[in-house]
């Protein structure tokens, strides 16, 4: 199938004033996102997720490599017609009301007035801001701003939806709504690129994921495949069992009926993620993002002898 997003050797190096390389944010990234799938982009802080997204949206220009989004260049206007983007922060015009915001972005897509009005109302209903439709966005809480940000990303019924930390700042109900929305859109054949720190969210909705560390791709594949531990075999039996997997399954099914299941055990995505990052760190590469965490600092720990007291005494602020 033709990929919705295709990068080959994608590299982004941020330079200083003298054009000397300062930070290598993305390094030789090969990524294929198939049309119609929900793709998750994971990685610790500073791993290059947001930079990758900005490169895919044409907000940054690659230092090397190539990017194709919906078979075109990312800064092509025709590409942008098919994209919806929810940034990690609220970049909305503070003085526009929620309704005016959606109307404004709708105009940028040349959507007719009637259709624009209909979509605006429906989106406001969807994100639960119908009551606050005429309040300026500048007065909104962070969660409300995220909701209106999501609504503007959907105003053009995009073929590719890019969501950068979509659940950040949202309450549990909002998070649930976002997940339901992603599932609904996926069913309609939309491609969704999701970037999140909340691994449970990603695990729930993504078909495939990629893990970035230090600008490099460390793991990529279907969630089920990645989380499957092929070194061990888990047998789900109504009672005790033994023998090779296929034979065992056959034996088991013959003996216990067709509901018997023999498969590989699945670990938690969080464990898998930490394992990938740990292996990448063991490579001793210079780190462009957040470095190795050193654990809880000494002065914050409870010691056996009571609260920590610094050398030289005094607990002064």
């Amino acid at each position: 199938m033709e990929p919705a997003v295709k990068t080959r050797g994608l590299t982004k190096v941020f330079a200083d004033f003298w054009c000397r390389p300062r930070v290598r944010a993305v390094s030789g990234l090969d990524l294929d996102i198939v049309r119609g799938e929900v793709f998750g982009l994971l990685g610790p802080n500073g791993s290059g997720k947001s930079t990758t997204i900005k490169l895919l949206l044409g907000l940054l220009h690659p230092s090397a490599g190539s990017v194709e989004v919906l078979s075109r260049r990312p800064d092509d206007v025709a590409t942008k017609k098919l994209i919806g983007y929810l940034p990690e922060e609220s970049y909305l015009y503070r003085y526009l009301t929620a309704r005016e915001t959606l109307d404004f972005y709708g105009r940028l897509f040349d959507i007719g007035a009637r259709q624009r009005a209909e979509r605006t109302e429906q989106l406001l209903e969807m994100v639960g801001l119908a009551q606050a439709a005429d309040r300026p966005v500048g007065e909104f809480s962070k969660g409300m701003a995220r909701r209106i940000g999501l609504a503007q990303a959907l105003i053009n019924d995009p073929a590719l939806l890019v969501l950068d930390e979509p659940t950040s700042g949202l309450d549990p109900i909002g998070c649930r709504q976002i997940k339901d929305l992603i599932v609904a859109l996926a069913k309609r054949g939309k491609t969704i690129l999701l970037c999140s720190h909340l691994l449970a969210d990603v695990e729930d909705v993504c078909d495939r994921i990629a893990i970035l560390y230090n600008g490099r791709l460390r793991a990529q594949g279907r969630v089920k495949d990645l989380l499957r531990e092929s070194a061990r075999v888990r047998i789900t039996l109504p009672s005790e069992a033994a023998g090779p997997e296929e034979k065992l399954e056959e034996e088991m099914r013959r003996r216990f009926g067709p509901e018997v299941e023999v498969g590989h055990p699945v670990i938690e995505l969080e464990s898998f993620f930490l394992d990938v990052v740990q292996k990448a760190r063991e490579g001793h590469e210079p780190d462009s993002g957040v470095g190795h965490e050193a654990g809880v600092p000494e002065y914050l720990r409870e010691t056996a002898a009571g609260p920590y007291v610094p050398r030289g005494g005094g607990g002064e602020c």
Partner: protein, 328 residues
């Protein structure tokens, strides 16, 4: 002691932040370069060059000083209040009063640093300007081209060295550029002080028009008053309207004598406005230096008292606003 340390830390932060703004270096450089160019542009004015250069340079000091101070005051407080940085500081054991006063101290120190540069450039420009010398050997109209060359070279050298420092050791270009500019001006001032205007070595001659120093000092006092007003305004308005309001205050203060002073004897309102509005004319004494005049010490004291009292009143008003302002 803790409060003093907090105060100095906050003031240093405010000053450092302003010094690192590109606009600060841009304004300082333009001001000094313009001052240095004045004697070159105003050639052959039959001995009037010194007066014209002096007044032009002091006017530049005043105008650019207002821009530097206005920008530093309105930008730092208004932006910090709306951007959340002020909130982060105020959640620490720091009072609003201290935060506000430290901001003021930081901005005033920026104004003082700028004024030192401007005063040095004014002294050097005045020295460069053409003058008539009644000397049997080297008499006639004389221009101190050596000093002019050194000032211009100083500007270029400071930029080049700042560039090298930034390239090699990643020093911030803006603040190191300004520091080097001040250093080069001081070096030029000291070196040329050991020569007469004909370029002959005369140790410790210091052939400068020292009357400029009190005039520059008065302008610095005006900048301190202006900083207090700009800071008070920025507690209520965002940066852009603050700058607009500052321009209004500046204009009104400049015409205060003409508009309100002349009507003060007839109208109570005019008399009140004349007293309440800042009168910038009190700090503009360049005219007094014409024909060999000097600014007396008692006038400096009086002006300093006026500036101190006025700034204190405006700071108190600004503090009242700031205490009631929503931060973050």
């Amino acid at each position: 002691m803790l409060r003093f340390r907090q105060f100095t830390a906050l003031a240093a932060l405010a000053a450092g932040e302003s010094l690192r703004q590109p606009i600060f270096l841009l304004l300082s450089l333009t001001c000094v370069a313009w001052m240095a160019a004045l004697p070159v542009v105003l050639m052959h004015k039959f001995g009037e060059d010194g007066k014209l250069v002096r007044e032009g340079a002091l006017a530049l000091h005043f105008v650019f000083g207002i821009l530097v101070t206005g920008h530093a005051a309105s930008w730092s407080l208004a932006r910090e209040m709306r951007g959340g940085t002020a909130a982060a500081v105020l959640t620490k054991p720091v009072g609003r009063d201290m935060f506000y006063l430290a901001k003021y101290a930081g901005i005033v120190s920026v104004a003082v640093a700028f004024s030192v540069c401007a005063a040095l450039a004014t002294l050097l420009s005045e020295r460069v300007s053409e003058r008539f010398v009644a000397d049997p050997v080297l008499g006639g109209y004389v221009t101190d081209w050596n000093t002019a060359r050194m000032v211009f070279s100083g500007i270029i050298v400071s930029l080049v060295v700042a560039g090298v420092l930034n390239y090699r050791w990643r020093f911030p270009f803006q603040s190191s550029g300004f520091g080097l500019l001040a250093g080069m001006l001081l070096l030029t001032f000291i070196v040329r002080g050991q020569f007469d205007i004909h370029g002959r070595l005369s140790p410790m001659l210091w052939a400068y028009d020292w009357r400029i120093v009190p005039a520059s000092l008065l302008i610095t006092l005006a900048l301190a008053v202006f900083a207090a007003i700009a800071l008070a305004l920025s507690t209520r308005f965002p940066a852009a309207p603050t700058v607009a309001a500052c321009c209004g205050v500046l204009l009104v203060g400049l015409v205060s004598d003409y508009v309100f002073g002349t009507a003060a004897s007839r109208s109570f309102a005019a008399a009140t406005l004349h007293r309440v509005l800042p009168n910038w004319q009190n700090f503009w004494m360049a005219d007094a230096l014409a024909d060999g005049g000097v600014i007396p010490g008692w006038y400096l004291l009086e002006a300093a008292t006026y500036a101190g009292v006025y700034s204190a009143a405006v700071l108190a008003l600004g503090l009242t606003f700031f205490r009631r302002s929503d931060v973050g």
